[in-house]
């Protein structure tokens, strides 16, 4: 039983990171209706910039700020040179544009920063927390706990920002009704640029955490795509959905990895490792059949 909880908690903690990436998708999707396929590539780009600045001698905090500036500029440029030109185009065209953007980043980022795999040290070690090990005999990683804490803090901060600030309110207004937002003088372009900058910030935090755990490399783009099943589970427009969806995916993929292979081997014989890699997608697929709007898919209010 202890082991079960150990796997569960480890899964939940790593799931928070999926939530973080999913959150980046949700923000952009809600505010501009663009499904930003490039979010994964942005995680990669952000992590790479962070490492790049650190290699040039910047301490972590400075490199973080510089990388954030890079991501913000990137967001503004994307809004200005890609999305603004495509206003009023069908969503699929915008989606294709973000796929293009994703490939562009994957090619451009290594050009800028070099393409070898880099280690990113943010001064945290991946070792068990002694106190929990002693009292409950469970291995819970310090790193995972810290990462999860940081991610949750970020999510809470964003939630407060959206709920209570003037800009946050404007952002939700734009998400609800572009036309009406425009009619009361909210400049959509500013809001969109802002959303991309926030998504860039979220990508940077995710990239920093993931990069320091697995190394900064191209594969980050794909790890980040694990956010897709999270979105299907949580609903594309729901911030709480992104969070809960991430937790579910994180926990279930780790549990599946541990508990399914013995069962499968019992039935069919052979080796069934690596379930973690595809289990979330299968889960998302099954979920799509049952509840296509996701757990928290925003209810469309019909009376309006």
């Amino acid at each position: 039983m202890q082991f079960f909880f150990e796997v569960l908690i480890g899964g939940l903690l790593s799931g928070v990171m999926y939530s973080l990436v999913a959150l980046g998708f949700v923000l952009i999707f809600k505010a501009s209706g663009v499904f930003n396929f490039a979010q994964g590539a942005m995680v990669f780009f952000a992590a790479l910039s962070l490492v790049g600045f650190m290699e040039h001698g910047a301490p972590l905090w400075l490199a973080f700020i510089l990388a954030f500036v890079v991501m913000t500029l990137f967001g503004i440029a994307t809004e200005k040179f890609v999305l603004r030109k495509m206003v009023n185009q069908p969503p699929i065209a915008l989606f294709m544009a973000t796929i293009g953007l994703s490939f562009f980043i994957d090619g451009f980022a290594p050009l800028l920063w070099g393409n070898e795999v880099r280690a990113l040290d943010i001064g945290l070690v991946d070792e068990p927390i002694p106190w929990i090990l002693d009292n409950w005999n469970m291995v819970i990683s310090k790193f995972d706990l810290f990462a999860a804490g940081l991610a949750l803090a970020l999510v809470a901060l964003l939630a407060l920002f959206f709920q209570y600030t003037r800009i946050g309110r404007a952002l939700r207004a734009v998400a609800d009704d572009h036309q009406a937002a425009l009619s009361i003088g909210i400049p959509l372009q500013h809001i969109w640029a802002l959303v991309w900058a926030v998504a860039g910030f979220v990508a940077l935090v995710a990239g920093m955490l993931w990069g320091s755990r697995n190394g900064v490399q191209f594969a980050l783009t794909f790890t980040a795509l694990k956010a897709l099943p999270v979105l299907i589970l949580g609903g594309f427009t729901s911030v709480p959905g992104a969070i809960v969806g991430g937790l579910i995916i994180g926990a279930s993929e780790k549990l599946a990895e541990i508990y399914i292979p013995p069962v499968m081997a019992g039935w069919f014989g052979g080796n069934f490792g690596g379930i973690e890699g595809w289990f979330p997608y299968v889960m998302a697929l099954l979920f799509l059949l049952v509840r296509p709007e996701g757990l928290f898919g925003e209810k469309h209010i019909d009376r309006v």
Binding site: V87, N88, R166, R169, A170, R172, A173, A175, D176, D177, H178, Q179, A180, A181, L182, S183, I184, G185, I186, P187, E298, I301, R303, V304
Partner: protein, 267 residues
């Protein structure tokens, strides 16, 4: 001559090919309520959007003529600049932010205003004075309020931007007669007490002409008639075509045809 809002012979084209306004001219004097009347598809909404500059977001364009507000040309401005300059549109169909509460809806209206917390609170209170019902519903999601409350929210939201002029598009749409009356009473109040000028697009000719000072009738993208509201109300043609009344009682088919011809002549 120092006019307030004046539209001079504008032509509007959508999608580069669809000609919708074919030379519309109209004036709104300061402090007045002017009604813009006409049937479905006459071009009322298009005219309002040309003024508020919301047209471009729908791939529409003013291709001829010009629009002046307080002797400044405004037809190439952004909606944001128009709102800051004091002209705001309340769109047809209300367009409240469904997932925001009524109060949040109102607050978004102040986006362009650099206001302190206290000023913001005062503006809110003022809106609640005109729309006491909104105060009761302040924390409900706008999407779940009634049509009348949504219309009030939309007007209240516009008021939060401190406008001198409101372009109000079909406020009566889909509302029960008493609610329509209630809303028009508030419009008159705002006009008299806050000195807000109104350009009011309506299909509900009868009600609009009772509250307006002046009226224009639009047909197929052209102004076919204009005059003081009371003159229009007593005009036989207007009664026939837009109020659906006639001193001679019910029309025969032949009379209808006759009026059709006259209608064409009017155009």
């Amino acid at each position: 001559m120092g006019s307030y809002l004046s539209i001079n012979n504008i032509e509007v084209i959508y999608d580069h090919v669809i000609l919708v306004l074919k030379g519309v001219s109209l004036d709104v004097p300061q402090g007045k309520i002017v009604a813009l009347l006409g049937a479905n598809g006459a071009g009322k909404t298009t005219t309002l959007k040309a003024i508020s500059n919301l047209l471009r977001a729908e791939r529409g364009e003013v291709t001829k003529g010009d629009i002046q507000f307080k002797d400044r040309r405004v037809d190439q401005m952004t909606p944001n600049e128009m709102v800051k300059g004091g002209v705001i549109q309340v769109m047809e169909g209300r367009h409240c932010f469904a997932h925001l509460t009524v109060e949040e809806n109102l607050l978004t209206g102040a986006y362009t205003q650099a206001q302190s917390r206290a000023e913001l609170k005062a503006s809110l209170e003022k809106v609640y004075q005109y729309f006491p019902r909104l105060k009761q519903r302040r924390s409900s999601q706008a999407g779940y309020t009634s049509g009348g409350e949504q219309q009030m929210t939309a007007i209240g939201r516009a008021l939060m931007a401190n406008p001198e002029m409101i372009l109000l598009d079909e406020p009566s749409m889909g509302l029960a007669p008493q609610i329509v009356e209630e809303i028009f009473e508030i419009v008159r109040d705002l006009n008299q007490r806050e000195k807000v000028s109104f350009l009011l697009a309506e299909q509900n000719t009868m009600v609009a002409l009772r509250y307006a000072d002046f009226g224009y009738i639009l047909e197929n993208g052209r102004v076919v008639m204009e005059g003081q509201a009371e003159d229009l109300r007593s005009n036989e043609d207007v009664k026939e075509f837009y109020l659906g009344l006639s001193s001679a009682g019910r029309k025969s088919f032949r009379e209808v045809k006759h009026y059709r011809r006259r209608k064409r002549w009017l155009a």
